[in-house]
């Protein structure tokens, strides 16, 4: 039986409703266009402010001065040097942008080195192995971590963490080796436990029962730091680093920045990667295990490739945040415009330089335009990274869609 047609609505009211719909569509698309226009306008503003730097001869800037080492008073060899104000009228200023770009990338690399293993490990564990009850608690906790302001993290890193690590250097450097070894040891010990106890310490709950063990281990290593230093380096690790490896040590260094900024990027990477991993159809993993794959094989060959687009964009977005992050680098790095590979020396990032120097730079002057140039470089970099993340993500997703489609 066919339903009778619904009563014809009153034409006036229908027109009013159509109009309202059209208005809503218009407003929403205007909002979208507005956002895009605002982003473009920022880029255009930066570009317009930078152009006179190269056109007006009074600035005396060329690409060589910006990126190649220049001869500097007091040094025989050409140096990279950021010294935007001339020492005295008539003397040359040095506009070496390379140390700033280097510092930015160095800080971001160390942050990712610290954050990516932790965040991905946490995402894999919580998406695949963790009981739902625990997972429901973990996610809000990590979101809380994301809400922590950069200033606070930077302050703690610069004034608490940096002096502490300096005093317990041997222990702190031993931790990245000791803690993973401790986890493996705990896993090995667990298999020797009686069955009842072993059932209590389920792998899914490892996040809880490993915690006291790792905390005790870390405390032991840090507490034993002086003995460690005495035994292995004759009580002077910094002297040993300097003499043997040629590494200078600064209390506020790239490692501290990496830890602090890593802490800030972990929640973002975790959230995206976790979403991607839990989005992989459960039947895929179950199928693999049914065919005899071990858990590890299932993870590496099936689940990770299927979630790889999401994981890739998670890491990329983390990189974008690490490059743009200002306050943490400013407060934890010492702002020394060095250009070394040494992770134990300070650095100076573009964003921190802009934050410190822009308020004091005279608008329209060379220094001001150089800072805007740095801002433009940052803008271009984050734009590129985000675009790349999106492109790779869509391409990879396209490739793996077949996989998901059959599941």
């Amino acid at each position: 039986m066919i339903d009778p047609l619904p009563p014809r609505p009153d034409p006036g009211r229908q027109r009013w409703r159509h109009g309202r719909d059209r208005l809503a569509t218009l407003l929403i698309s205007a909002g979208g266009v507005g956002v895009v226009a605002a982003v473009l306008a920022i880029g255009v503003f930066l570009a317009v402010e930078v152009v006179p730097l190269f056109l007006e001869s009074r600035h005396g800037i060329d690409w060589r001065g910006l990126w190649l080492p220049q001869s500097v008073e007091g040094h025989a060899l050409p140096q990279h040097r950021w010294q935007p104000e001339p020492l005295a009228p008539g003397e040359p200023a040095h506009y070496g942008m390379a140390p700033l770009a280097w510092g930015t990338l160095k800080a971001a690399c160390w942050a990712l080195l610290f954050a990516v293993p932790l965040a991905l490990g946490a995402a894999i564990h919580s998406a695949l192995y963790m009981p739902r009850r625990l997972r429901a608690r973990l996610k809000p906790t990590l979101e809380l971590m994301e809400a922590m302001p950069g200033v606070v993290i930077g302050f703690v890193a610069g004034l608490v963490l940096a002096p502490y690590v300096e005093r317990h250097l041997a222990g702190a450097l031993a931790l990245p080796v000791i803690l993973p070894a401790g986890i493996l040891l705990a896993g090995g010990l667990r298999t020797t436990l009686p069955a009842r106890l072993r059932r209590r310490l389920a792998p899914g709950w490892a996040g809880i029962w490993l915690m006291p063990w790792l905390a005790a281990l870390a405390a032991l290593v840090l507490w034993g730091s002086p003995w460690l230093e005495e035994a292995l380096f004759a009580g002077d690790l910094r002297g040993w680093l300097e003499a043997t490896l040629g590494l200078d040590y600064a209390a506020r260094n790239a490692m501290i920045v990496g830890i602090a900024m890593g802490f800030a990027v972990i929640p973002g990477i975790y959230a995206l990667a976790e979403d991607a991993l839990s989005g992989v159809p459960g039947s895929l993993g179950e199928g693999a295990q049914a065919l005899g794959a071990t858990r590890w094989q299932t993870l590496c060959r099936v689940v990770l490739p299927a979630a790889s687009p999401g994981i890739f964009s998670a890491v990329m977005i983390g990189a974008g945040r690490a490059v743009g992050e200002t306050m943490i680098v400013l407060m934890a790095s010492g702002n020394t415009a060095l250009m070394t590979l040494n992770p134990l020396e300070g650095l100076r990032s573009m964003s921190a330089t802009i934050a410190i120097e822009l308020p004091e730079a005279a608008a329209g002057g060379t220094h001001y335009r150089l800072l805007i140039l740095a801002a433009l470089a940052l803008f271009a970099f984050t734009f590129l990274v985000n675009t790349l993340a999106e492109l790779v993500r869509t391409r990879l997703r396209h490739r793996y869609r077949r996989l998901e489609g059959t599941a």
Partner: protein
């Protein structure tokens, strides 16, 4: 019930408002100095300016100081554009800034000295170092060694000081701050800092960093010193140690010292509006000068203070 309750509340509010208005109205004619007073400039001077503003508000409740402390470099553009009449600065105006002001207004700004300030070289409180000669200081901090040192100084042992971490760690202010500039001119003989210098966005941060590191050395404004750091004296040519005492800073005998200025937009022969005039009177009064010492700065030499007081008295009234 509720409605009546609300009604009485509103009545009370109206009554209170009326009372306040009548009180203010009764007060206003008694005190002819009222209005908002704007100042744009140095963050070093922010504390002093605010305290003077508070004192002024006690004497003239109608006056309010609105201070924008975003750095000395922000004062000249604001004065030139006419957005403010008062520009506190921690350094004298550069020639270019003065020219820009004159080109716009046709007369130079009036320069008033507010207080004296000094930079102090600081080390960790357990550091046994007593004094440094100018050449040693330059050899520690600079790349250029323009003050005459032969070799750079990188280690405490080169200065005869035994410290666990032998390498000297340098802390200082960021490029483009007045403090950084003054230290560079006076202590490095105009040379450039080493790249290893840890640059901090404020003097308080520098002091905190030096306090946390036994092998550190740094410099900060006199008013930022805390018991957690030790001030290093200056060893002059005769080998005598010289501390930044108030007398030495006041008379510029201590070389790392500077005058803090206030620039005023004042046409020649013209007068100052009431609030500005009252503010300057407050600054140069005995009560105003006591704040200078209270905040860790050094007061001006009496002769200069007296000269500025007389200048202020001779100034015609604006109305």
């Amino acid at each position: 019930m509720r409605r009546t309750g609300k009604g009485t509340g509103r009545q009370w509010l109206a009554l209170l408002l009326g009372l306040v208005i009548s009180l203010v109205a009764a007060r206003l004619p008694a005190d002819e100095v009222a209005g908002t007073l704007g100042a744009v400039g140095s963050d070093t001077l922010a504390g002093l300016m605010l305290r003077w503003g508070e004192q002024l508000a006690e004497h003239h409740p109608g006056v309010r100081l609105q201070l924008q402390a975003s750095g000395s470099a922000s004062a000249p553009p604001a004065l030139t554009a006419g957005t403010t009449r008062l520009g506190p600065m921690s350094r004298p105006m550069y020639e270019a800034e003065r020219d820009a002001f004159e080109a716009r207004h046709g007369y130079p700004p009036v320069e008033l000295a507010l207080a004296r300030d000094a930079l102090v070289v600081i080390v960790h409180r357990h550091n046994p170092l007593d004094g440094l000669s100018p050449a040693e200081l330059d050899a520690i901090f600079s790349d250029t060694r323009r003050c005459g040192a032969e070799a750079p100084i990188d280690r405490w042992s080169q200065l005869g000081v035994e410290l666990p971490g032998d390498r000297i760690v340098l802390h200082g202010r960021n490029v483009a701050s007045g403090t950084h500039d003054l230290f560079r001119q006076q202590a490095l003989c105009g040379g450039s800092f080493r790249l290893r210098l840890n640059e901090h966005p404020g003097s308080a941060a520098t002091v905190a960093a030096v306090a946390a590191e036994p092998s550190a050395i740094g410099y900060a404004g006199l008013n930022h010193l805390t018991p957690s750091v030790k001030a290093v004296k200056r060893r002059d040519a005769e080998g005598e140690l010289q501390a930044p005492t108030p007398e030495a800073v006041r008379s510029s005998d201590y070389p790392l010292s500077r005058t803090l200025y206030l620039y005023v937009n004042l046409p020649p022969g013209g007068g100052l509006p009431g609030p500005e005039r009252a503010f300057l009177e407050q600054v140069f009064s005995a009560e105003g000068q006591s704040v200078v010492e209270e905040l860790g700065f050094v007061t001006l030499p009496e002769a200069r203070l007296e000269r500025q007081r007389r200048w202020l008295e001779a100034l015609p009234s604006a109305e």
